[in-house]
Amino acid sequence: GGGDDAATAPGGSTGEAASGEPLKIGWLTDATSVTRGTYYPEFEGAQLFFETLNAAGGIDGRPVELVMRDMKIDAELAVTSATDLIQGENVLMLAGGSIEGRMPPVFDVARANETPFLAGHSARPDMFPPEPDPLLFTVGNVFEAMSDARLEIWPKLMEEIGVDGGEIACYIHQAPAAQAVCNRWLDEQVKVTPEFSQGPIVNAPLQTTDFTSFVRPIVDANPAAFFDISIASHAIGVAVAARNLGYEGPIVFSMTATPETDIQQVADQAGGEDLYALSNITSISETDVEEIQRILDAAEEYGTEIDPSSATVNGWLMGMVIADALERCGADCDRAGLRDALEETDLDTQGLTGGPLTYSPTDHMGTRYWTAYRWDDGDGALVRAVDEWTEFDPATDLVAPLAP
């Protein structure tokens, strides 16, 4: 694959530090808001990647510079920041993300300026096969696709845990897009695996800080398993509340939303037994994966504000994708060229995901590989609960089509 050079560059440290005219990439993230825990580490991951890359010679001697803007989950800031990055900073492309509802106006800015955009953890149907928006790419997931992917991995995890059926409870916070997570998934899951039945679905308003009353129905129903996905501050609050109120069954997080650092908080507050995570990316705990070790080394060297987690890994992966495209785009890379290069991505992720990441003109998302982890209280880290990766190709594996 074309990604090899770029992917090996950071560790390779053959050249000396890059010094030419920097290649500017705009990065939009929520650096200071309730969603910081989810989106900011992505930026940090990419930042680490490029620091390492630049130290090793950058791309053809040119350093890559990330220009970050904080959107604060605010539509107005998002639009002005995106415009400023493109027109003021003259960046080659945009990357990053915030909650889904915040993105369409930003995409509009990108379209109006013909600037490619690489989205992180949360994607939108705009990038989905078979008719993706020409400018939008993602390493992340659309909620509906994520739900469908879960159908196969869920029974595997349950088997590992030793749960052979019963009610599944589900928690999301009140964001319209998030509602698909529980509704669509549970509807299908009980069809695919009839030994499971639908338990309580809890849906708390975004402003909630005291989850007691919301969690009571779950505790009262005492489900066989509890799937807890939401922005981090909610997900951990709910898990802790459930434990406090006496729920002792397995709690399963989605690691894209609740990275290791947050699971750690739950373990601190309410004990680390029976905590699990589904993930489409390798956990930062898997230090025997070489690329993960590189991330940790880079974090050691360049520092991060938030302890590295799978979100950092996701950001690093985004860095890999961008560097790879820049490499292929060549010496006088412009926005159009970069977009074309992105579309031809076929990247070996060096073990950061379960397989290669490939984009095509009809697919700006690529195949996803899912696995499951278990929290090990002794190590204070995640360990694999399910060994293999489960493949999910959004082009063919969807249960029902996505809405436009």
């Binding site: 650096a31 200071t32 970050m68 904080d70 604060k72 989950i73 605010d74 539509a75 107005e76 639009v79 002005t80 415009t83 400023d84 027109q87 003021g88 909650i99 889904e100 509802g101 915040r102 369409p104 106006p105 509009d108 939108r124 149907p125 909620f143 009140q174 964001a175 319209p176 897009a177 509602q179 698909a180 509704n183 308003p205 975004l206 504000e305 996505l402 809405a403 436009p404």
Partner: protein
């Protein structure tokens, strides 16, 4: 003791005074034809028309946002600045307008030029309902009931988005097309700029007229002394509801415009902070002042961005980029504090002060008895 009659109606000064008017129509005219005033207006119009050629696309976009906000701020100015009814839930009206416009497009395919006025109507209706407590409740208690209305609207909006999500399968945020106004479409930032500027001009003119009319006077009267106003024949209940309805209408318009400007709406955008920002606009601009509402809107929208730019220009970005937003917020807060402490009449007050200073120069104080106003 007999002294000649006060010089009235005839000036003995060698220069014709711009303040001397000879009939009421002239005094009541929107733009009294005084030289300096016309000059100021002409310069303003010229500057506004030339702005797109002076500013880059980014700052043009910023001004577009500010101008939309100015329409909303004028709405709040009517109810809080003029009628004195504290409204902490202005964002609710924006939400109603935005969702109404988006809903009309989504369900009926209606374009902006229909949806805009419709959003105003919807806003006015919700405004009038939100104003009902004002008939019984006053002051901060009223302020918080308007906040309550906002929470109710948000709850409804969430339900609506949930409904869209289940029945339309969209991710719940409503997307809108490029607005088509029949005669032209608003494609570029510059299109938007001229459209918004003209529209805002019309709104400003209308609000100014209202303020100078019987309604405007009764708004101020009700704010000051409800009972006395009533004993003078002002229907206080009606005036309050009208104020809320007008505020809702302008809020609704601003909401519809911003929905189309962002090409989509989400209920999450209309949080308390937005309401609070609108309040900040009218206080920074000057409570009760129309010019103030506009200046305040520009100020509140542009200051944080200006600070960001300033930091970039100073080359401090590397050092401070991590704390950019914190700095912007702090600067914003400090400016607000500065205004509250040193210029309670806001930007409009500064403008007024400047004018008085120019006309009065070189004197520092005016004796009470000779102080000329207007």
């Amino acid at each position: 003791m007999q002294s000649p009659p006060v010089l009235r109606g005839r000036s003995r000064r060698w220069r014709r005074s711009p303040y001397l008017r000879t009939d009421y129509r002239r005094e009541l005219a929107l733009f009294p034809y005084s030289g300096p005033r016309l000059a100021v207006i002409a310069v303003t119009v010229l500057l506004v028309a030339a702005y797109p050629f002076l500013a880059d696309a980014y700052w043009l976009g910023v001004i577009n946002l500010a101008v939309i906000a100015a329409i909303g701020a004028l709405g709040l100015q009517i109810v809080t600045g003029m009628a004195g009814q504290l409204s902490l839930g202005h964002a609710a009206f924006l939400a109603v307008g935005g969702f109404f416009a988006a809903g009309l497009y989504l369900h009926l395919g209606l374009p902006l030029w229909i949806a805009g006025p419709a959003a105003m109507l919807a806003g006015a209706t919700v405004g009038a309902i939100a104003g009902l407590p004002a008939l019984r409740i006053r002051g901060f208690y009223l302020g918080i009931t308007t906040l309550a209305v906002q929470y109710v609207i948000i709850a409804i909006g969430l339900k609506y988005q949930g409904y869209l999500q289940t029945s339309f399968g969209t991710s719940g945020s409503l997307s809108l097309p490029i607005p088509d106004l029949g005669l032209f479409t608003l494609t570029s930032t510059m299109d938007w700029y001229y459209f918004l500027v003209v529209l805002t001009g019309v709104v400003i003119l209308a609000v100014t007229n209202l303020k100078r009319s019987a309604l405007g006077r009764s708004l101020l009267a009700v704010r000051q002394r409800e009972l006395a106003a009533e004993a003078l024949g002002v229907n206080v209940a009606r005036v309050k509801i009208t104020a809320f309805a007008l505020s809702g209408a302008l809020g609704g318009l601003a909401g519809a415009l911003s929905a189309y400007y962002y090409r989509g709406v989400g209920i999450e955008d209309f949080d308390l902070l937005l309401s609070v920002e609108y309040l900040a606009m009218i206080i920074v601009g000057g409570l009760g002042s129309i010019l103030g509402a506009v200046l305040g809107a520009v100020f509140v929208i542009a200051t944080p961005l200006l600070v960001g730019q300033l930091i970039a220009v100073l080359g401090l970005e590397g050092v401070l980029s991590q704390h950019l937003r914190a700095i912007e917020l702090a600067v914003f807060a400090l400016t607000m504090i500065g205004f509250l402490l040193f210029e309670p009449d806001g930007l409009a007050g500064v403008w007024q002060r400047l004018k008085t200073y120019v006309t009065r120069w070189p004197f520092k104080y005016t004796a009470m008895s000779t102080q000329a106003k207007r």
